[in-house]
Symmetry: C2
Subunit: 86 residues, 2 copies
């Protein structure tokens, strides 16, 4: 598999940020989406590899298009990219 091992960690970080921006607890987001709060916690910690529909459900409730969610993720990775050698 070619994907970076940090993909799920980065996804979790972006999701958690979007959730707290929406002033929702994991429990509240869970109640609104039907996704169990423990599962949301696992995604946010990068421990779960959610399906496309699960992530779409969460993004939708957080007012984000999937393209926006992944653009945020890609931006956060670009920020972490090492700069030129010092």
């Amino acid at each position: 598999m070619a994907e970076s091992p940090t993909l799920l960690l980065d996804l979790g970080h972006v999701l958690r940020e979007a959730r707290t921006d929406n002033r929702l607890s994991q429990e509240e987001l869970g109640l609104r989406t039907g996704v169990h709060r423990n599962y949301i916690g696992g995604i946010e910690r990068g421990e779960r590899n959610p399906s496309v529909t699960a992530i779409a459900t969460l993004a939708d409730e957080l007012g984000l298009k999937l393209s926006e969610l992944f653009a945020r993720l890609e931006d956060s990775r670009a920020d972490e990219r090492p700069g030129p050698a010092r």
Copy 2:
């Protein structure tokens, strides 16, 4: 769950288009990514709900960022949106 029931069909359509744009068969894409060709076929037909890492692996091999892949999907849905009543 709030996601549209057509999400997986639309995702499959966008993936198939990206694969054929890259002049790859399902088998070739499978060999390059380690994702079984039958599973790729299932995704393209909208029968599978792939994980984030599976879709990231396929998108990566097809030269697409996830944000681009989902933007294409969202654009295709916007095209299908019904116009004003006639």
